[in-house]
């Protein structure tokens, strides 16, 4: 039993995590590193594996197909790179717990993507939510406990929906098997739709789709930055979107109406989250909202019903984990050096932390979908897929779909805008003397973010050759989808070469003609003082003050759109109603009992 590769992928990190409770910090680090080396090696060895399974009590519990392999590889890759970042620089007082929780998260995430059986899936899914809660308890801001609670309620609540969904699927499957891979339930009646939406709630809460996204910005603000890069930015996206992809391929048979609904939800996720991100003054919260908004693209891609967009959605999932964790980690480096992630207090750091700046810039350009980085390629695939799907619809649906597409493309322009603000507020703008003593980030942090940035470039330029051909297209094939056909053209290699030629021409002209002189800023003849400074955070005040957006922003700040707030209020007011029914009079309680008995008899007599 212990020579089963799939089981080892879960058991080894699990064992290490329990061991780590007792060991000193340095050994914890080494053990976690070794674990990740081992699980990565196992994952690499599984690349060509066929029909690996793990059976318990004659039920297939774990199995591996290309789709789960894709998610599995993503999990190992991201966990490994983020671990390199965490080796040095995690807050001293939480280091011990951090390195016990890290392998635990890995074990449960591996478990989720490997599970074929509903029960094991549910257990791992719930447990991975628990590690999220434990990580957020390690936060040190004053809102941390609140945030941990909120996260746990949203994620844990969605687990309850998932249980109901799994039970319904079992029922609709005429009670045959608990396998998740061969159900294909057609969406015809109320029950199947209910099951679908219960699953959807679970996937959306985990990945952060509208309207279940509200825990992510808070979590990003209050939890240790490494855990933010690990969970909401990467692993939770992989898990949530993995479930969504499974729903759309093997669990349900989807129809056009569902496609439209999901694409609309995706577009809303993009635009709402990015509008919120634009006005943030806290770097972590800004990135948190973008972590939500990017999910919208994946949801759109996977939900649109076009194979090309589906592949794009999967590709965007892995791309997003790469650049988003890169952005969080660079912000982490800055925060560890300066002690703040408040955009109003930073500025001009590009001079003192040049490497971090370059990595953050690459991440920012990737997330905004600037060619030739990876974010552009997946977005481009999703847009094409939606265009392809639109062409097959009737006129009314076409208008609907095109509006969603416009929102998605516009969302990426707003993302660019938001990140220009982010980059400006932290790295550009006026150089400040108080930051002159700041050192560059430690080597391990530069290495980790550098690897992620490199992946951004590689996945952008050799997108078809490396990720698509090796991971995503086999995953599509395994799920019974046809091979996608591009309808547009985009040749990144050729473009890079031509761009490079023109760029070098310009640089050569510059080198031949340059005469350099150093001087101070020109400020209308006045001395350039530090108080004359543009922060960058105020870039979008015009947007914030525009009607009707100003009202919406005000409502959003009062948390009128936060599902957690709404449901808390709802629960409290319902509880108050129930309270009124319990005034403490014995006669009333007796009356309840009699009435209850009567109802019971009437029902059972029928």
């Amino acid at each position: 039993m212990l020579n089963n590769n799939l089981l080892l992928l879960i058991l080894i990190p699990l064992a290490v995590s329990f061991l780590n409770i007792f060991l000193p910090t340095i050994i914890r680090k080494i053990l976690v590193f070794a674990t990740l080396v081992v699980t990565s090696v196992i994952t690499v060895n599984l690349f060509n594996a066929n029909n690996e399974t793990f059976t318990l009590f004659s039920n297939t519990v774990l199995s591996l197909d290309k789709m789960s392999y894709f998610a599995l590889a993503g999990i190992q890759l991201l966990s490994f790179i983020i671990l390199i970042f965490s080796l040095k620089g995690v807050e001293k007082n939480i280091e011990k717990q951090f390195f016990a929780l890290y392998p635990l998260t890995l074990a449960f995430s591996n478990g989720v993507v490997l599970s074929e059986n509903s029960f094991s899936f549910l257990i791992f899914w719930g447990m991975s939510g628990l590690t999220l809660y434990l990580f957020s308890l390690l936060g040190k801001t004053k809102d941390s406990p609140q945030t941990a609670k909120k996260t746990f309620i949203i994620i844990g609540g969605s687990d309850a929906f998932l249980i109901m969904g799994l039970a319904l699927v079992w029922f609709l499957n005429s009670g045959n098997s608990w396998s998740l891979l061969s159900t294909n339930i057609p969406l015809v009646d109320g029950l199947s739709y209910t099951a679908f939406f219960l699953f959807l709630i679970a996937a959306f809460s985990k990945a952060g789709g509208f309207p279940f996204h509200t825990w992510i910005p808070d979590y990003s603000k209050d939890s240790p930055i490494e855990s933010v890069a690990l969970l909401p930015a990467s692993l939770d996206k992989l898990l949530g979107i993995y479930l969504l992809a499974r729903m759309f391929t093997t669990i349900f048979e989807i129809n056009v109406i569902i496609n439209l609904i999901i694409v609309t939800l995706g577009a809303l996720t993009i635009i709402i989250a990015v509008m919120m991100a634009m006005i943030q003054h806290n770097g972590r919260k800004l990135l948190g909202y973008h972590a939500v908004s990017q999910v919208g693209y994946m949801i759109m891609g996977i939900g649109s019903g076009s194979v090309l967009a589906f592949a794009g959605g999967l590709f965007h999932m892995i791309n997003n984990t790469i650049y988003k964790s890169n952005l969080f980690l660079t912000l982490g480096s800055v925060e560890k050096r300066t002690g703040t992630s408040d955009l109003d207090k930073l500025g001009g750091l590009g001079k003192v932390m040049p490497f971090t700046f370059i990595m953050a810039l690459i991440g920012a350009l990737s997330i905004s979908g600037i060619p030739p980085f990876n974010g552009f390629f997946s977005k481009w695939m999703i847009y094409q897929g939606i265009i392809e799907k639109t062409a097959t619809l009737s006129a009314g649906y076409q208008i609907w779909m095109i509006i969603c597409l416009v929102l998605a493309i516009f969302g990426s322009a707003l993302t660019l805008a938001s990140f220009m603000k982010f980059i400006h507020a932290i790295y550009l703008g006026k150089y400040q003397k108080r930051f002159s003593t700041i050192k560059k980030a430690p080597v391990n942090q530069i290495l980790s973010t550098g690897l992620l940035s490199l992946l951004c470039i590689i996945f952008g330029i050799w997108a078809i050759k490396i990720p698509l051909n090796n991971f995503i297209l086999p995953a599509l094939q395994d799920s019974g989808l046809s091979s996608p056909q591009f309808i547009g053209t985009y040749n990144p290699q050729l473009m890079i070469i031509l761009f490079g030629l023109a760029f070098i021409t310009g640089i050569i002209i510059f080198l031949f003609t340059k005469k350099i002189k150093l001087d101070e800023n020109y400020l209308g003849g006045m001395d350039s003082e530090e108080r004359f400074r543009v922060l960058g955070t105020e870039f979008y005040n015009e947007v914030k003050e525009m009607t009707p957006l100003n009202t919406l922003y005000k409502w959003a700040e009062k948390k009128y759109f936060d599902i957690y707030n709404i449901s808390t209020k709802f629960t409290i007011s319902t509880a108050k109603l129930l309270q009124k029914a319990h005034p403490g009079q014995l006669q009333l309680y007796l009356l309840y009992i009699v009435v209850g008995l009567l109802i019971f008899f009437i029902v059972s007599l029928k």
């Binding site: 001009g348 590009g350 001079k351 700046f357 350009l365 905004s368 600037i370 060619p371 847009y383 265009i387 062409a391 006129a395 208008i399 095109i402 509006i403 416009v406 493309i409 516009f410 322009a413 660019l416 805008a417 220009m420 603000k421 400006h424 550009l428 703008g429 006026k430 309808i487 547009g488 053209t489 985009y490 050729l494 473009m495 070469i497 031509l498 030629l501 023109a502 760029f503 021409t505 310009g506 640089i507 002209i509 510059f510 003609t513 340059k514 005469k515 350099i516 002189k517 150093l518 001087d519 101070e520 800023n521 020109y522 400020l523 350039s528 960058g536 105020e538 870039f539 015009e542 525009m546």
Partner: protein, 309 residues
């Protein structure tokens, strides 16, 4: 990598062709603008003289700023614009697909703004930062309308994304400007490229009289020369793009040459007229204009296009 690609990028329709034509059109713009204001205007070779003179000037770098970024950005922008000119130009002149489709072109166009912002705000100058902020606001303002504009030809050509397919579709079915949705989108497109080129009334990021050329304020010498050159190159790229998606491209033989000149000249004249008859507006006005007035028109054009009008 074929040898003719080198010809495309360096000579025609890439760097040499685009810069020379751009500088000439820039002269036309200056001359006509001068006549609007009852001035004489510069001589024909003035833009060329300006460019080469700037190459000979010294480059002032700012102490405690990010020099590499400051210097690299104008040349990156130059590279991207050359690439754009090549992609659009090869499709227009040789009727062959080349490198990227309409979405790629749209995203490449954004890079110019990004470079302006990065280059300008790397200096730490207040005016540059204010200008950079305005540049990005102007980008998100016109981008929404611009998305509608480029979706109209995509829809009308039966959901084609490649530029050459869109041109070929127009060759058989007539240029899109001949339809209601086409003309709406085309007019909107001209306004959008006016904003993308930061010409009046949308010269908000540069606003010489107000924030002293904004992001370009600290630039001098060869980098400034290239920023100016980039600006003139856009006089070629954007009109060519509009010609290919709305006016059906052109053939360079017989009457085709006349059509080419007429189409290009028409767009340039409209742009110059708009530029010279409108004062600069504020950035919040621009945002309101594009989001509340221009974009609904774009939406209308989309709906008309889907209904086949």
């Amino acid at each position: 990598m074929k040898l003719e690609y080198l010809f495309y990028i360096f000579i025609f329709p890439g760097i040499l062709f685009t810069t020379v034509l751009g500088l000439i059109i820039g002269w036309v713009d200056r001359k006509v603008s001068a006549r609007f204001q009852f001035r004489v205007g510069p001589p024909f070779l003035q833009n060329f003289n300006d460019f080469f003179k700037l190459l000979g000037k010294e480059t002032t770098l700012i102490k405690n700023s990010i020099h590499s970024l400051f210097i690299a950005t104008p040349f990156i922008a130059f590279g991207v614009l050359s690439l754009l000119a090549t992609i659009i130009g090869v499709t227009l002149f040789y009727h062959a697909g080349f490198g990227g489709d309409i979405f790629v072109i749209m995203y490449l166009m954004m890079i110019y703004s990004v470079m302006i912002i990065l280059g300008g705000s790397s200096t730490g100058n207040v005016y540059s930062s204010i200008g950079a902020g305005r540049e990005i606001k102007l980008l998100i303002a016109d981008e929404l309308a611009f998305i509608f504009v480029i979706l109209v030809p995509i829809i009308k050509s039966g959901y084609q994304l490649n530029l050459e397919n869109i041109i070929n579709f127009q060759a058989t079915n007539g240029a899109f400007i001949g339809s209601a949705s086409g003309i709406l989108a085309f007019l909107l497109g001209i306004i959008c490229i006016q904003a993308k080129m930061t010409l009046q009334p949308f010269d908000i990021p540069e606003a010489e009289t107000e924030i002293v050329e904004g992001p370009l304020m600290e630039y001098s010498g060869p980098p400034l020369a290239f920023w100016k050159l980039n600006h003139f190159m856009m006089y070629v790229i954007f009109p060519f793009f509009l010609i290919s998606i709305f006016l059906g491209g052109f053939t360079l033989s017989g009457l085709g040459i006349l059509w080419f000149i007429l189409k290009y000249w028409g767009i340039i004249v409209v742009m110059i007229i708009i530029k010279n008859t409108n004062p600069r507006i504020r950035i919040d006005t621009a945002l309101k204009f594009f989001w509340k007035y221009a974009s609904p028109v774009g939406l209308l054009a989309i709906i008309l296009a889907i209904l086949g009008v």
